[in-house]
């Protein structure tokens, strides 16, 4: 369980997160919705400890992986090196063990043939897969995804949904921030809508007649 208590965060006087409290159950998929500037990304960045909250507390004892909006693959490393570098360094281990693991993962994601390519040669969907694989290499219990569908076409978005579901079925908690309500509705057990740094509503899309229509009303 991931526990967020009274978290606030400001950037140069503007409150981006305003007294947020939230519990996230293990192995659930939680969507963070909200208009641009509502605090979705900042919330994820606080969870990953890239930003530290001004006040409040975030408690969890799990290994967290992060998928960036613009992937942030290392451009000077091949796909395989991108996957293997960090875990091999952490384990102070030779890269052999992780190479096998990485290749298996790339095979599962259908991009095995791209292992020795550089990220700049990949399409958006392929980069997304590499980014997912890289964040999974450290066996996280929780995966944070920032706008995983931005810039992807409809077919690739469907793939992302399938991939994230697959990861979730292995027991990984997923927290995903997106402005794409259709995507969030399709994937999430729970959608939390932020506006001006506050939680304004929360729904379970499966138990709602028109989740997208309902959530859209908060965007105006």
């Amino acid at each position: 369980m991931l526990r967020i208590r009274n978290v606030s965060k400001s950037f140069s006087g503007t409150k981006v997160l305003d007294d947020i409290s939230l519990d996230i159950e293990k192995s659930s998929i939680v969507g963070l919705a909200g208009p641009s500037g509502s605090g979705k990304s900042t919330m994820l960045r606080c969870l990953q400890k890239i930003e530290s909250p001004d006040s409040g507390a975030i408690d969890y004892d799990c290994n967290v992986g992060f998928m960036f909006q613009d992937f942030q693959l290392f451009p000077h490393m091949t796909v395989l090196q991108n996957l293997v570098y960090a875990p091999a360094l952490k384990a102070r281990d030779s890269k052999g063990k992780y190479t096998t693991k990485a290749m298996a993962m790339l095979k599962d994601l259908g991009i095995e043939s791209k292992a020795s390519e550089y990220p700049c040669t990949l399409s958006g969907g392929q980069k997304q897969r590499v980014a997912l694989a890289r964040s999974l290499m450290t066996d996280p219990d929780t995966l944070l995804c920032d706008e995983p569908t931005s810039g992807l076409d409809v077919a690739t978005i469907t793939d992302v949904i399938t991939l994230l579901r697959g990861v979730n079925q292995l027991g990984v908690t997923i927290i995903v921030a997106s402005h794409d309500l259709d995507f969030l509705t399709a994937i999430s057990d729970r959608i939390i809508l932020l506006r001006d740094g506050k939680i304004v509503t929360e729904i379970s899309p499966q138990q709602h007649d028109d989740p997208v229509g309902y959530l859209s009303t908060y965007y105006n």
Binding site: F68, Q72, P75, L89, P119, T138
Partner: protein, 217 residues
């Protein structure tokens, strides 16, 4: 007569050894200090002090810095510095100021997400700089570093003022002994120019071979 000319020519060319020693030493010192300065400034370590040092180095003539190292340090610490050590210290520190500015721009031009991705993956700072950030920065600023090396090569001619027998000093010696300035100075100019051409060619070749990857991550 022509034997004399050839002997003079070879005498001047023998200065290439000293020029290259100075260049190599200064680049090593300049790059090492420059990297440290740039990283420290980025991480807000002694930022004010480093900014001050860089400002003073860039704001005073190289010949003055060379003279300070050659004349003042031995007086204060009662030691003796030879010409090459003096040159490497002075030009190296001088170059470090320019290199640190080049690297700072290179570091700041990388997407912040690269640092955050490294952090998220649990890569310790030393390895993040060594394996993630600096290789990308190096590729991006390489042309500027070649440019700095060319400038440094020409700057080494200042050791002539403290008696270093480099290309410049040797051409002056020949000129003074023959009362004839045009030929020896032109020879010196030609040798410097050829060295610069070689550096530029090597730079271009290295640039062609590096980074099979394009810019967008």
């Amino acid at each position: 007569m022509s034997n004399q000319l050839i002997a003079d020519f070879l005498y001047i060319c023998a200065g290439v050894a000293m020029t290259l020693k100075l260049l190599l030493g200064s680049i090593l010192v300049g790059l090492s200090l420059g990297v440290l300065f740039a990283i420290a400034r980025y991480r807000n370590i002694c930022r004010g002090v480093i900014k001050g040092i860089v400002s003073v180095i860039r704001g005073t003539p190289s010949i003055l810095q060379l003279s300070i190292v050659y004349f003042v340090i031995p007086q204060v610490y009662s030691c003796k510095l030879d010409v090459i050590t003096t040159g490497i210290i002075a030009f190296g520190i001088n170059s470090s100021a320019y290199v640190s500015e080049i690297l700072r721009a290179g570091i700041e031009s990388l997407p912040k997400g690269q640092f955050e991705a490294a952090y998220s993956l649990g890569i310790p700072p030393f390895y993040m700089w060594k394996d993630i950030i600096l290789p990308q920065v190096a590729a991006n600023v390489f042309p500027a570093i070649v440019n700095e090396t060319v400038t440094l090569l020409k700057e080494t001619a200042l050791v002539a003022t403290i008696g270093g027998a480099d290309i410049m000093r040797r051409s002056q010696i020949i000129a003074a002994s023959r009362y004839e300035y045009l030929t020896p100075l032109c020879v010196a100019g030609l040798v410097y120019y050829l060295l610069v051409l070689v550096l530029e060619f090597a730079g271009r070749e290295i640039e062609k071979r590096q980074r099979p990857y394009a810019k967008n991550p």
